[in-house]
Symmetry: D2
Subunit: 414 residues, 4 copies
């Protein structure tokens, strides 16, 4: 419990720290319906603890503000109605300062409950869930702020500039796996989301996984080979997007007089050939793989390949908030499995055999999104390390590009 309290405090502080380089104005704007204002993230994660923890342990519970239940509910139908998602940027009130006070108020309540021992096992597991929920929103703060700042022609930076080296990635090689009747899914007692369970058997033919993510340099070859102009490389839905939205490169890339530039949280900088390509949709990842004579892994291949690997790499803790040049990748294992970029898989996001969502309102957390999305694996440069596991399943829609999403190739074992 002391551990839980400490982790609670640490994670909650981290969210506020993430907003520190931003003005109140920066924290209040919403650049598109998929993204939310930073202030909203700070309030919603607090709403989560107030709704699912304080309202249970405090009897009676006096809400911090009677309308916050409505304003900061994201999508929990069982909890009540929700302020329209695409209008969150209009909520100039409560102010950022008041949201900070809201956080302090709820933090005090949660802390009190933990210290007094008012939190039974079930409540503690909800607090654990809330901590992971907050970490998810920390990543979204990074991706959503990046999108917002990019919409501004001034292209303001969130953090200090990053140097460039011009170095290319180490040669890509392949790691072979024999396949067979394997097990994936969360095993053991540690925390995992409901969608990672139950652990179950899958049969896989042998496969190979690339030694590292696809680099910007490799992706430039795809672009230069007319990758965005050849329909035979694309899924039908992807080709429709290419034409409708005029895609010619990953999101945030711009061709300037001095070659390709990209917007990062450190401002505009040259595209680094050695860094993993980032901000590509599933459609682009899939088209690249087809062009390269390979394919995307299914999630069971990815998870089996990563089994036993340590969760370490270029994660949110580094503060870089941008993918990093691959190391030499000596190893027995594929490099950069964790951190840098989320890796699109060919697997549609669905329930594992025997899946059971959480009871009650929290059952809406993951299960109801199991349609029309694809699974991504591995975490990114914006994911807190303590948030990840080899069995972690992230999920986004095929056209989504504003996440730190990249490409890891796979192929059938020859």
């Amino acid at each position: 419990m002391a551990d839980l309290l400490e982790r609670y405090g640490g994670v909650r502080r981290r969210s506020v720290d993430l907003a520190a380089p931003l003005s109140a104005e920066d924290c209040s704007a919403q650049s598109m319906p998929d993204a939310s204002p930073v202030k909203w993230h700070l309030a919603h994660t607090t709403w989560f603890f107030e709704t699912f923890v304080l309202a249970r342990v405090e009897q009676p519970h006096a809400p911090f503000h009677p309308r916050f239940l409505y304003l900061f509910n994201s999508y929990y139908e069982s909890v009540g109605a929700q302020y329209p998602r695409d209008r969150r940027g209009l909520l100039t009130r409560p102010s950022l300062d008041e949201v900070r006070r809201y956080r302090e108020h709820v933090d005090a309540g949660v802390t009190r409950a933990l210290e007094r021992g008012d939190a039974d096992e079930q409540v503690m597991s909800v607090i654990e869930l809330g901590i992971h929920h907050e970490q998810q929103h920390q990543e979204l703060i990074a991706t959503d702020v990046k999108h917002l700042l990019w919409c501004n022609p001034l292209r303001p930076a969130y953090r200090a500039p990053l140097g460039t080296s011009g170095r290319v990635a180490p040669p890509l090689s392949w790691h072979a796996y024999p396949g067979g009747l394997l097990e994936i899914g969360h095993a053991g007692d540690g925390f995992a989301f409901d969608n990672e369970r139950p652990r179950h058997r899958v049969f896989l033919e042998g496969w190979e996984l690339a030694s590292r993510p696809v680099s910007c340099g490799e992706y430039l070859e795809f672009i230069d080979d007319a990758g965005y102009a050849r329909p035979e490389l694309w899924l039908s839905g992807g080709w429709a997007r290419v034409r409708e939205e005029g895609w010619q490169a990953p999101l945030y890339w711009e061709r300037g007089e001095d070659g390709w530039q990209q917007f990062s949280l450190a401002g505009m900088r040259a595209v680094e050939p050695g860094e993993p390509v980032c901000h590509v949709s599933l459609y682009e990842a899939d088209a690249f793989a087809r062009w390269a004579g390979a394919r995307l892994p299914v999630e069971a291949e990815w998870e089996s390949s990563a089994a036993g690997a340590a969760v370490e790499g270029n994660l949110a803790e580094s503060g870089r908030l941008h993918p990093e040049l691959a190391g030499s990748g000596s190893g027995a294992r594929p490099a950069q499995l964790f951190g840098d970029v989320w890796e699109w898989t060919a697997s549609a996001y669905g329930p594992y055999p025997g899946f059971r969502p959480l009871e009650g309102g929290l059952g809406e957390y993951n299960g109801k999104f199991m349609s029309s999305q694809n699974v991504l694996r591995g975490g990114s440069c914006a994911t807190p390390g303590s948030h990840l596991r080899p069995g972690y399943r992230n999920f986004f829609y095929p056209p989504d590009r504003w996440q730190f999403s990249g490409v890891r190739l796979a192929r059938d074992l020859r």
Copy 2:
């Protein structure tokens, strides 16, 4: 080859026969972008044979009309540009009569090629593919005409009235399957689409499959139990549709003074409690299953359950063009696996391990749609029987409702 020629002729005639009850006006209109005019179907299937057969066996090939290559290309980017899909109803020329002449012209060419022996093995396999392609469009003619006629407040009928009986379906029971390391996918030499291949191993835990599709009577219970008003039953995307489009029942159902009516190709008639429910989206199928304490099958479960079953039932050949009351379902197997309604599965439509699309332009036939759709199994009352196989994979988007799509329940083996 004589067999191929005979089947070619028979299937081609069948398409024209399907249009016989319709006027030229009926055949020219398009009710929504997802549906096409009957005339367009008749021309496009002909275009398929002209483009992929005649243009190969006739050297040089003089096109029937220089612009038909453009007008009647559906989505083959490698063949050339396409007239916009959502504007097909504006093509009042060529007339239905001219399209019939186009069919005769191409049929003569294909027949000549087959009779003369100009068609090598590869060409014959394309003709085989074209026959199956034509059968797919025969089903689309039925579904698209149904949607068009329903848009007309006069609610005209395509065929003679169907009687009603008021009988309910036989009790639903469960067939148990032990699971294990199984094989699915097309085996053997007979025709199959590329997406049914290769045959491959999958591991499944034990499951149970319902003895028949969900009936209208059971679906009415779901409606009466506020199924369309309870968000906890729905996938997030489904609930959004329910609200945006005001869904309160399957497509074509209307609540009148005398209870629920439904539009059919035989005109308006009372909802029959014993008939399989039809014209539901994946979202509705999934919500119903959740409400019923069951789930949808994954496609490997469905295919394994159907292995060895004869392809027979209420298929297009019956001319009913409407699902039929379930029989007593005596049997060792689930009833109504083939015909009546396509059965939504929980499986996203994707490539089988080791999938290879056809070479050349025909590679666009199936593979490029392997994103964001779900597989349906079993065929419907509008599917020609000779078109089906246990391994057949149909696919539509989760919100689609204008196909003859219904619900077969599954559950984990206890």
Copy 3:
């Protein structure tokens, strides 16, 4: 009354004759929400007589079909609900043949009423109105069919080809008018729409009116002078359209290898420099005028200039259905005031001082559209001559281009 009966019969026959070159398919399609199928025009004009005449003189009146009241009501809220305007192309039933029978049925009823003397003065005035209403729809048949045929890449022709001469228009000169306190609006007993009344006084400063409409040759100079690329020439709403819709020339113009071509009811042909430019929006007419150092006339200027002029010119009766090369324009008056092209005025369409709409449902005929549209004057090559008067007010929205609309310049008297 005999005269009325004769005119009724003649105008009604003319509508059917207009459809003669078209197939049932051609008559059933709708190319955009602003346009209607020919079949719908034929039915709606009949609905007008059934609703406003037969239902009054026949007691009781048995409707030809119980749903036609709904299907063919255009916008008369006081009569009842209306089938959605943008879905008229889905009404493949009733068939064209049945609509013809509907016409015959109603014609017999109206004829009987007139012959028997059942029609009192009020009813006869409604029949008169219905005749003019039918003539309006005859023009719409021409404009709507033109748009539909143009949407077809085959570019089918409605009538036989028209020759081209390459001749340019006679030099444009100016006719001067001193202005003063003038009268406009309908005077006397003859038929006029309510919106042309009452005759009233307006004060005008002196003006000049161009001797003929702007020619295609002159409009080409505007195009060549980057007219579509210079925002300073355009109203704000016009410039927005130029960019959003990529306007680069009038509707139906295409730049080919051999120069500018235009689609006409006689098929594709070269742009004739001497013909009046046609199918321009108010925005284009206004931008051209600004570029030319002139302006559009206000409707009082136009009407005063045309006072006393005979209604003659290239009208629907000529069967040309396309603007014609200007004559030498000898005259005391501006040439081509009537026929060829409707002439955009700078006047917003609004009520004359003292305007009173017709009583009852027919009050919806004109008055409720007096917002956001501009007045056009003079009639076009698709307007029946007997339909026009110098005081006639046509009206369309500023971006509309599918009517036979052109440009007549004016300027202040120096």
Copy 4:
């Protein structure tokens, strides 16, 4: 010039003062494309002086920031490209503080130019124009903030609460005007926009003008008489809006348990029967007038009625920012001609005969909007008094409701 300098300073300070009750977050958000963030208004009005004054008097002129020319250009095509209007709420940078510094910088430059005598007559007339431009934006700040705050379910207030009295308006009477050949338009040397010129003759029949604007109490009678449910009262475009957007009352009105409430800049309060009705579209004003057996005035009637009247009333200077209960209206003239609410006229916004826009880029100020809008007269509770004249022409689109727009009735002289 000293006077100009003084007025410049006063008006510029007033804009900053208007933002004082707002947070930086409030000033940065945009509630709809028609409205702009307060910060953007503060920057754009400064851009106006920098672009049209400083860049002319300072040779060379060093821009305050190289990108502000782009970011804060509203619609001046001749000046350059513009940041998309509907994305102004994404400009979290520059911060409100930096915009304040921008204002100080430009103010120092303008002041210096005036003090040094660098501003010739033409420049001084542009400064005069800029002062009036700034006053227009002061009104927009009030209307746009009102809309933004209303979008927030917390319904925050901009100013202190306003009391309510429940009093009704004095009886409405009519002032008669004989008509004849009159003159309207700006006369004399004082400032006026180009669209108010030239003074010119118009002929009017006699008319009557209501003694005061329509009150909320009268408008409630219209609502209670099913005004929003009777299509015969509405222009076609208005009725379409009623149905599409579900209009049932003016913008900002809500029916609660205690009757009608309305949102104001002073927060939620009961609808006051005696106050002029406000936030109605032209469509609603027109429908109300028809219901009341009257009509809207044309702008020449309004201006003639107001000729010689003093510009006084409930204007921005009162700080009320809400319409006020009509006084007893003793007088020889209609009451409340200036202030309280803008009064919709039946006149489309167009050029006066002989209209000449300003030279150069400033010619885009008014002229290019002369299409599809209607003129409003008189000013509102948010209009600075020194900004108004009897000949002042405001203009908005028929469906617009977020301005302080109300209804003044007129009728023909009997």
